[in-house]
Every structure is written in C-alpha cells, then in structure tokens.
C-alpha cells in the first residue's frame, strides 16, 4: 500500500509539513499544494530538510499554485511540478490520500 500525502500549509507558519515528514514512510509521495508550495522553494530555513526527505520520498508541487505565488524559478531541483490532472493521477496511482491540514 502507498499513500499520497498532501500538505497545504506554509512550513514557516504551520507544523503540517514537519508532521507529514515525521509520520510518513520511505517510498511515499508528498504533494505540496496551496500555501504548502513554499516548502518546495530553494534557500529557505527548511529547504535542507525537504532535500533530505527527497532521498527516500518523492516530493511534488502543484504547478498552478507555484505560478500563482511567483515561485516558479525558486523550486528545489528534483521536485516534480504537476498540474491538477497530475494531482488526480497521483491520487489514483497511490492507494490512499492523506491530507495534512
């Protein structure tokens, strides 16, 4: 069984990304959406933590949310950008979707 984890909060304001990283398994996929996409940006106080998680987890970010916030050129290398269709695909490819609200 695999889980798609979604995180929709900024990691600078809210603990949900941290909790998701703590309570998720190697091999799982994390999709950053809404204000959660700030967690996918380079050079921040948490980007090293995100990069470390990428060693055994797949981290994606929702492209429309990235573009809305003007962060397109700041995304950490290796984070995959997906659109809403890609979000749907991730939800079908995994067995369960867990929202870290």
């Amino acid at each position: 069984m695999t889980i798609l984890h979604t995180v929709n909060k900024s990691p600078f304001e809210d603990s949900s990304l941290e909790s998701c990283l703590r309570c998720s398994k190697a091999g799982s996929t994390i999709l950053l959406i809404e204000d959660g996409i700030y967690g996918a940006t380079e050079g921040t106080i948490i980007s090293d933590k995100v990069k470390a998680a990428m060693a055994d987890r797949t981290v994606c970010a929702l492209q429309p949310d990235v573009e809305a916030r003007g962060m397109k050129d700041k995304i950490i290398e290796g984070i995959k950008l997906v659109d809403y269709a890609g979000f749907v695909d991730l939800a079908t490819e995994n067995d369960t979707v867990e929202s870290w609200l």
Binding site: M1, T2, I3, S15, S16, S19, R22, C23, S24, K25, D95, T96, V97, E98, S99, W100, L101
Partner: protein, 136 residues
Amino acid sequence: MSDTTKKFLYLNRKAPYGTIYALESLEVVLIGAAFEQDVALAFVDDGVYQITKGQDTAGIGVKNFSPTYSALGDYDVNKIYVEKESLEARGLTVDDLLDLKYEDEDDDWAEKDSIRVVTAQELADIMDEQDVILSF
C-alpha cells in the same frame, strides 16, 4: 454495503475549542460507528490535547465535549493511537490523558485500554494499512 468493510482512520491534529474541528470530527466518528467499518482514531500534534483530562469549559461558555470520548468504547471504537513524539513535545504523558476503556468481547468482556501510544514511524505503518483517512 454489508459486503464491504473498510479500514477508516480519523486523523485528529487540532486542539479543542480554539476551532471546531475536534468537536465536528467526533460527531463523524459517532455517526460512522453505526456503519460497522473497521475504525481507528489517531491523535497527532495538538490533536493530543483533545483527550487531556480535567477540561472545564464553564468560563468560555462553550460545551465541554471531552466526556464523549469515554463513550467511544461502547460504540466499538477502541483503537485510539496517540503519537509519542507529539505527547513528549508538549510535556505530556499518558497519565495526562483521559482513561479510555473498552470491553473486549473476544476476551470474556475484559476491560482494556483503548489508548495505544505509538511512535511516528509506527503510526506511519498504521496509516499505510488504511483504506480511508479522514483528516480534520
């Protein structure tokens, strides 16, 4: 529906009273109990505060719903996971939590603890087995 039994996990991560999520999540659990699914609750992050002892809401004028958690055992809701790391970060131990019990029908109705303290990675394994995760 009788042929389908799914594993439902209710993931509770928010403190009570500051927002309504804890109360309305509990209302879902109570309704959901009638559907005879395989139900578990997880309390993570500030969610652990939902089941602390000694809540007294008279001063804020809001109903204290914490006694309802003690009734969950009667609804066959008896798998209550509390994340160890969340408790520790908040200076809490299991003694600070409500004493939630159930009677085990497979063990001559012996009274047992519903609460199981698990590490984050144990909880990750438990989440991995679920069919439906409802987060509030």
